[in-house]
Assembly symmetry: C2
Homo-oligomer: 318 residues x 2
Amino acid sequence: MRPILFAAAIAVCAAPSFADPLPSWAETDTKAAIIEFVERVTDPASPDYVTPADRIATFDNDGNLWAEKPVYFQLIYALERVKERAAEDPSILESDMLRAAAEGDVEAIAEGGLEGLLEILAISHAGMSVEEFQDDVRAWLDTARHPTTGMRYDAMIYQPMLELLRYLRDEEFQTWIVSGGGVHFVRAFAQEAYNIPTEQVVGTAGPTEYVDGKVMKLPGIDFVDDKEGKPVGIDNSIGKRPIFASGNSDGDFAMLEYTTAGDGPRFGMLLHHTDAEREFAYDREGHIGVLNRGLDEGPDRGWVIIDMAEDWLRVFPE
Amino acid sequence: MRPILFAAAIAVCAAPSFADPLPSWAETDTKAAIIEFVERVTDPASPDYVTPADRIATFDNDGNLWAEKPVYFQLIYALERVKERAAEDPSILESDMLRAAAEGDVEAIAEGGLEGLLEILAISHAGMSVEEFQDDVRAWLDTARHPTTGMRYDAMIYQPMLELLRYLRDEEFQTWIVSGGGVHFVRAFAQEAYNIPTEQVVGTAGPTEYVDGKVMKLPGIDFVDDKEGKPVGIDNSIGKRPIFASGNSDGDFAMLEYTTAGDGPRFGMLLHHTDAEREFAYDREGHIGVLNRGLDEGPDRGWVIIDMAEDWLRVFPE
């Protein structure tokens, strides 16, 4: 063993963690339920003990690890990129949808459905290598600011969830993102924002092509990692049923159902956005992050509902 | 830290590994090149040091981690299952191709191309949940025997590669399988055979569907993880360019090219099947595991060619 590894092992040996793993969570039933579950599945003496290899936890991203209002941040990125490219070459605005994109007309885009969205993504998300695309996303994150908070988008991540991710990893869980957002988009910041490596990010994916040493992004969408697509994406990338799933909208219902349908100890959790003061308050209405079925059926299914206003002592990192 | 973890940490601290990590490899240039590369990228003082997070190694499976003659073992499984189902219900043999499958006529199937293969896979690999399919594969592995060696198929794995996988993992590499074989098929035995968890297996994939708490396998093929598909599969599942890639056929050429086209230290390796006595000898001709371009261009690209007869002291585990 090399000295640096030896030192790391000593450091691990010498650092028992008696501190509260979830300091930004209020002392409510929600926090108690999380800790009770984690202790139950990690205690070798527990009948519900789960080996580390099977400690798979999956997290939705938009509205669950970071904010999603007024619209998905990836859409804001896409619209800004269309606008910039149209400024260089106005001839790319070949359709009403692309003109709406260049004008930032989110309402028109929401009404344009999937076809309109694909036109926008074909210009903002295709025609470059994966590496170039991710460099571009990171460059955008460095300069873009949220329209109402004025914050960096990647600062609008939830401090309590960062603590939960870390707590789970400390307890030898794998923490995966399973996002309706684009897999390459989320990977561009997941390591920095959440300490989650690219290989533990599952997301919506377009076609790609290998050419001359590079993987190029092509227009279109091959796989939508939302609703019933989430269990499919989990099976495809992880190949194991999670024991812990965390989401915030009905797009996550199937993921929680799949997770909690397995044998043995299971944990499903939904984040209810109840905090208009510190973040946003929304649930049953709108285009983004709609939560109906989860609120109606979740409690009877044993899922924990996080009440953001009550359960979180703070929302964003300092 | 719990006692069991503490004990594990102590054990790690107390076990320096001065032993030969590759005892089944002869003392040739091949072995020296592998060890030189691993030491160079893991030594923090080396200019070529690579952080553990980027130590991604990818391995082809058929003909690289286990044997692939006379035909891919997955095809043997598929044919046996078609035959069994036809014995229960002969009406399923609706085409010449399915009749050929039930008769085990591999030549006819090879000539039938992709369409014929899809008919066979639709019967042998679809219409059940992923878990049921994998239970079935494991049950097959428990009883099936190789036609010429009489061995279990999952005993025809290569001992030198098992040592290499372990050596790389001991040096904090991630060892991924990137196989032209079906992802669910390979996952059924990868943990047991190679100590590789399901989430580090990438492969050819058919469509699946989430229904009532289960992920069901449907007929068809969505993604072929071979040739130019391998870099695409790597990007899709790992999201990082490997620094080490190991294959044995021209189906792996693009994976090795993609791997070694990156900046910094890179390692590409091809297994040349030169050992008719202990395994099989084949390269430029045939339907399975053809290796032409790799032999022609590999050495000039700096790729290491394993000569099985010369470089391996033994082939299969005892």
